[in-house]
């Protein structure tokens, strides 16, 4: 049987199809709200991405420049006067306590970051490597009975590296929190 279907009949059938209960929407209001908030968050992140990139680049440049400046502008060797020993001991203890506090803060940072920035990651790895090398060197020097002045110098160097590491990690944390 062949029916001659003209346009009016097709149009009527199409409108009939539109009146049928269709497929249910993919999700309810609660799920839509969740997606809406996530979308707003994503948009905020996208909007602030240039600031985050600038912060990461600044941190990376800072970390690259610090060792260079340190190498080219080495401070004059510290002259130790006998009557300043007590002051220096107090200062050293304060520095060590500060370094321990920084290390504690660094240890509490999450190891698996949601966003990993290549430049910052390279800088962090480099600093961590340098600290590890210094730790080994200090252990070796202590075992060999090195001079306290030598150990003190290494300790200072380590404190500076830990400080730099904390600065980079802090900059990265700020960039992640306010991307």
């Amino acid at each position: 049987m062949h029916t001659d279907l003209n346009e009016k009949i097709i149009a009527r059938r199409l409108r009939g199809a539109s009146d049928q209960p269709g497929e249910a929407p993919p999700y309810d209001w609660a799920e839509f709200q969740r997606r809406r908030h996530r979308s707003m968050l994503t948009r905020t992140i996208e909007r602030n991405r240039p600031v985050a990139i600038a912060a990461a680049v600044a941190a990376t440049v800072l970390v690259a420049v610090i060792p260079y400046l340190r190498a080219t502008h080495s401070p004059a060797p510290r002259v130790v006067h006998p009557n300043t020993t007590v002051d220096n001991d107090v200062s050293d203890r304060q520095d060590q306590a500060r370094t321990r506090a920084i290390e504690g803060w660094l240890a509490r940072l999450p190891h698996d970051r949601v966003i990993v920035r290549v430049g910052t990651h390279a800088a962090v790895s480099s600093l961590q490597d340098q600290i590890a090398v210094l730790d080994d060197l200090m252990s070796t020097e202590r075992a060999a009975g090195a001079q306290p002045v030598r150990l003190d110098a290494l300790e200072k160097q380590r404190e500076q590296l830990v400080g730099s590491l904390a600065q980079v990690q802090y900059a990265e944390m700020l960039a992640s929190a306010n991307p």
Binding site: T3, I10, G16, G22, A24, W29
Partner: protein, 194 residues
Amino acid sequence: MSRLADIPIPVELISQARAGDEAAQAGIYRALAPALFSLVRRLVGNKVVAEDLFQDTMLAMFQRLGDFRGEAPLGAWVRQIAVTRCLMYLRSPWHRARLQWDADDPDASLHSTALYVTPAASLELLDVERALAALTPVGRAVVWLFEVEGYSHEEIARLFGRSVSFSKSQLARALERLRQGLALQEDQEACTQI
């Protein structure tokens, strides 16, 4: 199901939603979501793409609710947002690439385009759905916008960024294919009954 443009939304509900009242926004969502999803699904075919475009349209509606002046029903305004987005998708290189992939796997295309029909649906409705699924996406969109949603050729041409003759020729071709498809199916059913 009511068509999107025909769904009545009280003005007070719109005002409350515009003021940020979540209950009012939820009310509008629940009233419009089924018809909106059906329309989007009808225009783009693919279910996954339809879900994305549905979400985009809903997000745009709530973001731009302050711009709604109430000169037309809210459903008609939302329909315009949805249709614009769907046709943008149909004109996109991404959609053309998808068509190419689907051409390699005809089954994939048919399954993704076929709409859900209730078990109680009549044979006539099943025939229409099958015939619609066999159309090209652009042809299906043009025939649906013209015959069901009441768009003029000028409006369709403007939405597609093409000429009025493009709309007319697409409609003529789509109607011809529908006519052939529906007649063919009736012939097959007649043979089965014998």
